[in-house]
Each structure stands twice: as C-alpha cells, then as structure tokens.
C-alpha cells in the first residue's frame, strides 16, 4: 500500500547521502541541545543540593532579619526557638516532610590573633553540629561523589572553631593550620641612602620577624569579640581546628563557624539564648510548596504574635536564581541556534527535492492529487526526518551522556570548595527529552512547509516540462 508516509520514506531513501547529511545535522543539533541541557540540569541539582545541605529548604527568620538583621542579630533574633522547632516537628502535616530542623545564629564580630597583633571583622555562624551533619547527608537527586563527610567541628569541645583559609592568612594562622600559599611576612630591604647604624638595624630586624603564634598544643588560638544586645563587649578564646576554603574569596576571608552554644554565649552572654534562623530540610524539594504553605499557616496561627517569616532556599540564595537564569539564557540561545541550523538544513534539502522532483509533482497533480496532497508528501518527509532525528538523537545523547558520566570528569564550579563531578543528567529527565524531540520534529516539519507550499503551487504544465 502506498500511503503518504510510505511515499515520503521511499523518497528519503532515494537520495541517501543527502538524507543522511540532513539527518546528521539534526542529530548533532539535538545532541548538542540535550547534552548541554543535561549538563545544566546536573549543575542545577548540584547547586540546589549544595544550598539545601548547608541551609535547608526553608528558613524561619525574623521578618526583617534578611534585609536588616545581619548588622544587629540580637535585635532580629527568634525568641523561644526551641518551642517553635518542637511545634514544627510535631505538626501532623509538616512533621512527616522534615528531615532536619535546626537553629543557627549568624552575626558579625572581630576576630583577633592578639599574639600576632592582627584582627579583622568576621562573619560568625553558630551551628548545631550534629544537625548540620545530618543535613549534609541529603541527596535527593542521587548526586555522584557528593561529599557527605561530617563537619570538622564534629565531636569537638564547644570552644573550637573552623575558619576560612583567607581569614587564616590574615590572622597569621595559616602556618600552623597548613594553609597553602602561606608566605611569611617579609620586610623589603631599602638599599638606598646611607647605611643604618648597627644598633638601629638590629632593632628593625627584630621587629620584622614573625610574631610567635599562640597555640594550645597543636591548635592555634583565636579570640572573637562580639557585642552583647546592650552593647557590652564579649570575648571568647577559641581553638581553631582547621582552615577550610569557602569557595568565594569574600566569604573565605571572613568565615568563622562555631558551636551554637558558644556563639549564643558570645552574643547573648548569660541572657536567654536566641537564634537568627531555624532551617528546615525536607525529604524532597518537591514538597517545598506544601511545606512553605504549612509553615505560613503555623506562623499566622500558632505563632501569630511573633514577627516571623519563612524564606525558601532560592530567596535566601539569590545566586541560585541568577545562575539558573544565566544557564537558561545560554541554553535558549543554543537551542535557537541549533533550531535555526536544522531549519535551514531541512529546508534546503526539501527545496532541492522539490526542484529534482518537479516533473513528478506535475505528474501527481495531473493524475488527480490536490495541492494539499503535494504539500503533505513534502511535510511528511520533513516529519519523518524529524522523527528519525529525534529517536536517533535521543539514543545517541543517552549513550554520550553515559560515556561522559563514566569518565568521572570533575570540575570546581563557582561557589564550591571542592571538585564536583562533571556529569550530564538525561536519565529520568523525560520532560526535557520529550520537549527537545517534539521541538526537533516540529522544526523539521516547519522547515518543509515552505518548499512544500512552493511545490503545491507549481503550474502543472510547467512542472511536466521538466521530465
């Protein structure tokens, strides 16, 4: 039986080399779009996972803390946070969704290494270490090689801290903490002018020598100075366990992590301890809308009198949304570019086919095929090319993605502190695969429309003269 599809297929096979080249262009276009899309998808999941393991899906804060509170945490802290955490965990709707509910306290302070006479302003985060370790195990997207090791603060005394490597250098703690690029401070010798008297030169030399670092056994010491709610200075003498790179230099130069109890003692002294945020980590990101809605209900009812709000990880980390928007724009650009290439390739192929088959078009019209029938033949050829390209493109993209993933390539993305796998995620991304495949088929069919319309408008007598 000779249907339109059968005829289209045979016509495609008629000029195999040209059909193959067209198909190849479509395959490459689809593969480029899918592989880049899969790469972006993996980055998206990786970024999301990174934020969720460190700060949860949702955070309950004082309603003005995010805008105003970082300079004065005491004024924007959450009172009675333990009662709120208990209520959240016991809530029949919210409770089953929660993996971790943990408080944290963030504030600005001054860190000093008084033995070396250096200090600088820092950003201190007080955490419940066990909770944070549990949060770090979240891996809803099955990210490969995700670091789930515990925090360095695990099982350590309350007076210990972790700092950024940049801060370690500034505080001259980089040597004892074995931080890379830790150059000893040197004084350049000024050889111009007359020589110094020997006694003054000896004195200058003694000043230029690095000061000894205060250590307690193997751990260097550091002092943190913070202001209490009433403005009184509180100082804590801490042992620095390690210096860890924080990914972004601006954060790395000011980062200090403490046990929550120590941080609360610093800010609130003997007053009732408070926190600046309660982080909620959910089992799945898909639960986020429902969980947020429920938290809002609780804040509006159970905690009606308290000035609290709930923010999700996207609101808390604008970088996430900006990164995704950038990748979406790049992806859109590539998709449009590939679509245009496919459009012109298929259109060119169809145009050549129309020219070559002019006499056949005349014959078909003469024996009774309507203009619409001629259009159908060429559009079906485009559709068939699109379907073939889609099936082969998806198959080859899946194979290429598997190959890339098997190579265990790694990279350090912006904002991360450690190598992460360079992966392409296509398995399970049904929507992306379907939309890309349908897009290719539609573009291929659209590409054939103009040549098909031209073929259908041919004058029959003129067309028959081409025989």
């Amino acid at each position: 039986m000779i249907g339109a599809v059968s005829l289209a297929w045979r016509n495609l096979l008629r000029n195999r080399r040209r059909s193959l080249m067209t198909l190849l262009a479509m395959l490459l276009g689809l593969m480029a779009v899918l592989l880049f899309g899969g790469y972006i998808r993996d980055i998206t999941y990786s970024l999301q996972t990174n934020f969720v393991v460190s700060s949860g899906h949702l955070q309950i804060q004082h309603r003005d803390y995010f805008r105003l509170g970082t300079g004065n945490p005491a004024a924007y802290a959450i009172e009675d946070y333990e009662r709120i955490i208990q209520s959240l965990q016991r809530d029949p709707t919210l409770g089953p969704m929660l993996v971790v509910t943990t408080p944290s306290l963030q504030f600005g302070a001054i860190a000093g290494n008084f033995a070396s006479s250096v200090s600088r302003t820092v950003y201190v985060t007080g955490i419940v270490v066990d909770d944070q370790n549990r949060m770090r195990r979240w891996n809803d997207y099955g990210q490969r090689d995700l670091s789930s090791r515990n925090l360095s603060l695990s099982g350590t005394p309350v007076n210990t801290a972790i700092i950024g490597t940049g801060l370690a250098r500034v505080l001259k703690l980089c040597g004892p903490l074995a931080v890379k690029d830790c150059e000893p401070e040197t004084v350049s010798a000024d050889t111009s002018g007359s020589a110094l008297p020997s006694d003054i030169a000896a004195l200058a030399g003694s000043v230029a020598k690095p000061a000894p670092v205060a250590t307690d056994g193997q751990r260097p010491r550091m002092e943190i100075l913070a202001a209490s709610p009433r403005g009184a200075p509180n100082v804590a003498d801490l042992r620095v366990l390690a210096a860890e790179f924080q990914g972004v230099k601006e954060l790395d130069d000011v980062y200090v992590a403490l046990h929550l109890a120590q941080a609360q003692k610093l800010v609130f002294g003997s007053a009732r301890p408070r926190v600046t945020a309660i982080a909620l980590q959910l089992q799945h990101t898909a639960q986020l809308p429902a969980a947020r809605e429920r938290v809002r209900e609780l804040l509006d009812t159970t905690f009606k009198g308290e000035p609290l709000t709930v923010l999700d990880y996207e609101e808390l980390n604008p970088f996430y949304g900006q990164t995704l928007a950038m990748f979406r724009a790049i992806f859109g650009f590539i998709a449009i570019l590939m679509g245009a290439i496919v459009l012109f390739t298929v259109s060119n192929t169809m145009s050549m086919a129309v020219v070559e088959r002019t006499a056949e078009i005349g014959t078909l019209r003469a024996i009774g095929l309507r203009r619409g029938g001629i259009r159908q033949i060429f559009v079906f050829e485009g559709l068939l090319l699109g379907c073939l390209g889609a099936v082969l493109g998806i198959t080859l993209s899946l194979a290429a993605a598997a190959l890339i993933n098997a190579l265990d390539l790694t990279w350090v993305p912006p904002g991360r502190i450690e190598q992460v796998p360079l992966a392409v995620r296509l398995i399970g991304e049904g929507t992306m695969l379907t939309v890309s495949a349908v897009g290719l088929i539609v573009v291929a069919a659209l590409s054939a429309l103009v040549p098909a319309a031209r073929a259908s408008r041919m004058n029959i007598v003129d067309a028959l003269r081409h025989a």
Binding site: M1, L7, T363, R365, G368, G373, V461
Partner: protein, 264 residues
C-alpha cells in the same frame, strides 16, 4: 445569453454536418468534449505568443482521436486544456457535461482523477514505486479498498502484458514496458478520456507500433476516448478522427468513422 457549448455544431471548420442531430440526443454520451471559442496566449518575456486562437471543437466519445500538426502549432496546448492541467484565457470547455473552466483547483484535481487518464511522452512513472504500485497509486487517491486496488492493478498489468514485471521499479523496465505501465495507470480509475502527449515519441518504431496497438485495443475494450497529440504517421493512421491544427487554429478535421446513429 445561451451557452455556446449547447449550440451544436459550434462554428468551426471541418465539423461534420450531422452534429446538429447528435446534439439533440445524448450530448454527454456523444459529445464528451466541447470547446467553444477557446484561446490561450503565452507570454515570452514581453511578447505575447498566441498558442490557440478561438478554437471551436467537438471530440466524440469512444474514439481514437489524434490532434496533429507541426511543432509549435498548439497541439500540446490544446491537449493540456482538454486534460484540465491548463486553463484557457478565453472560451469554455465542457467535458462530460461539466464546464471545467469554472471549477476551482481542488475540484479540477478531483475531476482529472475521476474522469481523465494521462500518458506522457516521457512515461512519468514515479521512480520510487514498483510497476504495480504505480498502477495502484491513482486508486489509493480515490480511496479504493486495498483488496480491490490490488485486483484492479494486477488485472491492468496483465492486460498490458506486464504481470511478470509487477514488482520491478521503472528503472528496471524498458521504455516500451514503462509506457505499458503508464497505459495501465491511465486506465486504473476507469476514466472516460485518456490523453496521451506524443506517446510514441521516445520509443523505437517497433515498440511504438506495439504501444499504438495496445492503446487501440484498450480503447476498444474499455470504451474510453483516447486523445493524442502526435505527428507520428502510425498514430495518425490508427486514428478514428484526426484534428489538424496549424498556428493555433484548427485547419481541418478528418472523421474516419461514421457518426453514431440515433437510437431507434
């Protein structure tokens, strides 16, 4: 104003005196094709070239009619107009009682498929289809059931002596065999009229004679009007009626068979 096609005979040279009586009888049967004051002009760059000038013609049904004349005389243009693949600039064309000049493109396509069959000088078979499929294809357009299509196509291929070559593609067939397939395809939908433009021009003398005999045989067996454009003496010799055309005008009509008599 009366329709010129209803006035028999139209004023044209060479028309037999009898058509006045025939016209009173079953016109659609006896006068399947009527052209009245048909003109066609082609434009070459800035010059208008008249291909046909005010043609009046009646082509009788169930005849082997040849339109003959020198190259450029307008015979192919006349055949194209009768075949409804071209439109006249002026005048009317009635085929099987329908004014085809009034039909829109889709209706004309349907009309061609239903009423007309075509045989081309270059055979014009679809190269991606087998001989069987080429014959079957017009039936597919008509929406005939697969089993009936198959029977009809095989029947026709057998009638033109090509049942053994049914599954060969045109590229695997000789010129004569291709033209036989084209004849079978032209007859597939049981048309009233088959139009053939120089059907023997690309065939050797022997094959050309065989093809003429075959068409003659098919015309008799299927009761179809065959209309040719040709200046092949063998085709003219085999014709029932010969319409001579010169410079876009009918110079004479030679009717070799007696006109049908009125039924008692």
């Amino acid at each position: 104003m009366p329709d010129p096609s209803d006035q028999f005979p139209p004023t044209s040279p060479g028309l037999p005196p009898e058509p006045a009586k025939i016209g009173v009888r079953k016109k659609s049967l006896l006068h399947p094709i009527v052209l009245s004051r048909v003109s066609k002009t082609y434009r070459l760059d800035t010059v208008d070239v008249p291909a046909l000038v005010a043609i009046d013609l009646v082509i009788l049904q169930d005849r082997f009619t040849v339109i003959s004349g020198p190259s450029g005389s307008g015979k192919t243009t006349l055949l194209n107009l009768i075949g409804c693949i071209d439109r006249p600039d002026e005048g009317r064309i009635m085929i099987s009682g329908r004014g085809v000049h009034t039909l829109d493109d889709d209706a004309l396509s349907d009309f061609r498929g239903r009423e007309l069959g075509f045989i081309f000088q270059n055979f014009n078979l679809l190269p991606v289809l087998t001989a069987f499929e080429n014959v079957e294809y017009p039936l597919t357009l008509e929406g005939v059931a697969p089993a009936k299509r198959r029977d009809r196509a095989l029947q026709l291929l057998a009638a033109v002596g090509l049942e053994a070559h049914a599954h060969k593609r045109p590229g695997q067939l000789s010129g004569g065999q291709r033209q036989r397939v084209a004849i079978a395809r032209a007859l597939a939908r049981r048309p009233r009229i088959v139009l053939a433009d120089e059907p023997t021009a690309n065939l050797d003398s022997k094959t050309g004679s065989e093809i003429i005999d075959l068409m003659r045989d098919m015309q008799r067996r299927h009761h179809v009007s065959f209309i040719f454009s040709s200046h092949d003496p063998k085709v003219i010799e085999a014709a029932d009626d010969v319409v001579y055309i010169h410079d876009g005008r009918i110079s004479s009509i030679e009717r070799r068979l007696a006109l049908p008599k009125e039924p008692a």
